[in-house]
């Protein structure tokens, strides 16, 4: 892919803290206009990578380009950033807080105020504009933080674990907003260790572990690479036999159903036959592996994941 088509292009990025290599030679092309998932376990180097994209940290070596430009001041104006560690001035009024966030991204205070007021109204916080941040509930503060990140219609939106700590209602609000902004043309980098969300939202992903890219590409390609060798089984009866069947790599129990990952070349029909003999099968489906399972396979065992 040509770098000019990329929203973000990283080449051989390295960052060490003391003797710890947080980012160990990451190269990535993140295309424009899509939601890109930066996934990986805690401590994999996601946040450090993001900080280098935004010039908050300087890489030891390697190159960052955003929309073809070297990382730096211009990049910050085009980028909205919601860090994982996010806060607000507690004693400041909500609208003033957002006015400031808009203003430091290049808007005039009046402009920023107008835009922020519009978003606050839309997210049902219209009555809270002149209240202090500390008077808001946690969920409300999260909305304010999100508005702060999207003020000024950034071309690139970087969201680091945007859903952590959100209640389901707000999760939906944020997800819809993300999709809406993406439809409006914003490129979005979405960093998370929640595989289900990444799978639902991202068109393309990069799996990072121990400072390196382990897997990358469009989601369907990544999955295809792992083949259609998973089976969903829903049944009544004792499931312990599944683990003992020949050709079964692993079994994940999801309560209602089990996901059986097969070894390469194993025959799903054999699993079905074996199951029918022992239990009452209510559902049997050959599927692509979930991102979750790919993640566990790639990372599992090496690192504790949350």
């Amino acid at each position: 892919m040509h770098p000019l088509e990329s929203a973000v292009s990283l080449r051989d990025l390295v960052k060490t803290f003391g003797s710890f290599r947080a980012v160990d030679g990451i190269s990535l092309e993140i295309p424009r206009g899509i939601i890109f998932g930066l996934i990986g376990p805690n401590g994999a180097g996601k946040t450090t990578t993001i900080r280098m994209i935004l010039d908050i940290l300087r890489p030891d070596s390697g190159e960052v380009r955003v929309f073809g430009l070297p990382s730096g001041r211009q990049v910050k104006d085009k980028t909205g950033y919601l860090p994982e560690e996010r806060g607000l001035y507690r004693k400041t009024k909500v609208l003033e807080m957002l006015e400031y966030q808009g203003a430091i991204r290049g808007a005039s205070p009046a402009q920023a105020r107008r835009e922020a007021a519009g978003w606050l109204d839309r997210l049902d916080l219209g009555d809270w504009k002149s209240r202090k941040v500390e008077d808001l509930s946690k969920g409300m503060q999260q909305k304010v933080q999100f508005i702060g990140a999207i003020l000024g219609k950034p071309e690139l939106l970087i969201l680091d674990e945007p859903f952590s700590g959100l209640d389901p209602v707000n999760q939906d609000v944020f997800k819809d907003l993300m999709l809406e902004l993406n439809r409006g043309g914003a490129s979005i980098i979405f960093s998370t260790h929640q595989m289900e969300t990444a799978e639902r939202l991202c068109k393309q992903i990069a799996l990072i572990n121990r400072g390196r890219v382990v897997l990358e590409g469009p989601l369907h390609q990544v999955k295809a690479r792992f083949g259609k060798n998973s089976v969903l089984v829903e049944f009544d009866g004792d499931a312990s036999f599944l683990q003992t069947l020949p050709g079964v790599a692993r079994v994940d129990d999801y309560g209602g159903y089990r996901e059986v990952r097969l070894q390469n070349g194993a025959d799903p029909q054999a699993v079905l036959r074996a199951a029918v003999e022992r239990v009452i099968v209510r559902r049997f489906e050959i599927v692509e592996p979930t991102l979750h399972n790919i993640f566990i396979e790639q990372v599992g065992g090496q690192t504790h994941h949350a």
Binding site: K76, E85, G87
Partner: protein, 425 residues
């Protein structure tokens, strides 16, 4: 530039809108004036009382003159400040004095003066009191005693001098002091006036540097502990954030100084004429426009120097408790020149004062003191300012590097050598 302005704007408005800013701005001068007034009132109450002095006179001939001389000390109502009780010597002078001790301790007597019979001997005259700290009282007693003793000594030397003659001989020699700054412009000024005038301004300078330095440090600590730092750094460079904060809070400081200087200027206009007539020019000279200009210059330079260091402390610490230890050397650098004000005011041209006024860490306060007392050679002022500016430039660069690394670090505070390593980049 826009971003920097926006940071300055926020830091400025945020503070200037607070009620505490205005309360502090108004209360500080009121407090200082109040303290002075209370002290004067208290001193008045004390001097209003008549003090009883016992005289144990071994010569047997001092009493009359001493009583009349001490009787000349009047309080502001015209009554005598002292009453003298002449205690006849029983046994030795020392025994007599010992017998008076209970009355000193009970507060009946303010003090006891003993005189041995040899008026020429050293340590012939002694003063015993519960407290000997009252300089004014000691001076008055000493004067009365000296004048009475000189009479005795003259007599002993067989010089017969009449009472009138003696009074003339002993008439006090007063010396008035004048400051020479420009040709033909000598101004009457006393040490007390110079000292207290200077001390008041140095005190304001010290408090302002400390308060605003700590304000910058607190602001950074707040942004760290609220986890807002990274949100801001998504849009701002660390330099913009740090510089904006320092300039914004500096502007708050300047606003406060401007309020003070404007009120002093108004006061000057208002009482100026009356003061000139009263010959009270020395005090007015302390607040001349050129001195106020120097005050602002050294406040600003000192502010940039110290806040950059306070900003570094804020950047590497996680809490105010942690910052306490690191900031104490900075506070010491401010305290040392302040407590040495007396020395610098008394010896503004001494090598120590000249050197201290050129060392950037002390320069803002010491050079300002020297300017208040005398006009130092222009090259010294210029060199001091130049050295300050150069130091500030390097400090800002080093602190900028510390800031960039420090603000996103949580957890263990780095050691001082580590911090210095960051500063070198």
């Amino acid at each position: 530039m826009h971003k920097l302005l926006m940071v300055i704007r926020r830091e400025y408005l945020e503070r200037i809108r607070k009620r505490s800013f205005w309360l502090g701005t108004l209360l500080l001068p009121l407090l200082m004036v109040g303290l002075v007034v209370v002290q004067v009132l208290l001193a008045d109450v004390e001097t209003g009382k008549q003090r009883k002095i016992a005289l144990v006179d071994g010569t047997g001939r001092l009493a009359a003159t001493f009583m009349s001389k001490l009787g000349e000390e009047k309080n502001k109502d015209g009554a005598s400040s002292y009453s003298v009780e002449v205690v006849p010597v029983k046994g030795s002078v020392e025994e007599t004095r010992g017998a008076l001790e209970p009355r000193i301790l009970s507060g009946d007597l303010y003090g006891v003066i003993t005189a041995g019979d040899d008026v020429d001997a050293t340590s012939n005259f002694r003063f015993y009191a519960r407290s000997v700290g009252n300089v004014f009282a000691l001076k008055a007693l000493q004067r009365a005693l000296r004048e009475s003793v000189v009479g005795l000594r003259l007599e002993k030397s067989h010089l017969d001098v009449g009472a009138e003659e003696l009074k003339k001989l002993l008439a006090p020699v007063e010396m008035e002091s004048f400051e020479v700054k420009e040709q033909g412009q000598a101004k009457k000024r006393g040490f007390d006036e110079a000292y207290f005038g200077t001390f008041a301004f140095v005190m304001v300078l010290y408090m302002a540097l400390l308060l605003y330095g700590v304000a910058v440090m607190r602001g950074i600590l707040e942004e760290k502990s609220n986890r807002i730092m990274e949100v801001l750094l998504g849009s701002l460079t660390p330099d913009e954030l740090m510089t904006g904060k320092i300039l914004g809070i500096g502007l708050v400081g300047l606003t406060q100084m401007a309020i003070y200087i404007a009120s002093v200027a108004l006061l000057r206009l208002y009482v100026g004429m009356a003061a000139l007539q009263a010959g009270w020019t020395g005090a007015l000279d302390t607040i001349s426009p050129s001195k106020m200009a120097y005050f602002c210059i050294f406040f600003l330079l000192g502010y940039f120097l110290y806040t950059s260091m306070f900003a570094a402390v804020g950047a590497v610490c996680n809490s105010e408790q942690e910052a306490q230890n690191l900031q104490s050397p900075l506070v010491m650098c401010l305290v040392v020149p302040m407590v040495m004000t007396f020395f610098f005011v008394a010896n503004p041209d001494s090598p120590a004062a000249v050197i201290a006024s050129l060392i950037p860490l002390f320069a803002p306060m010491v050079m300002f003191m020297r300017i208040m007392i005398l006009t130092p050679p222009f090259w010294q002022i210029a060199l001091s300012i130049l050295l300050l500016i150069v130091t500030i430039y390097f400090f800002f660069r080093g602190v900028g590097r510390i800031f960039r690394i420090g603000v996103l670090m949580y957890g263990k505070r780095p050691t001082v050598p580590e911090i210095l390593k960051w500063a070198r980049g």
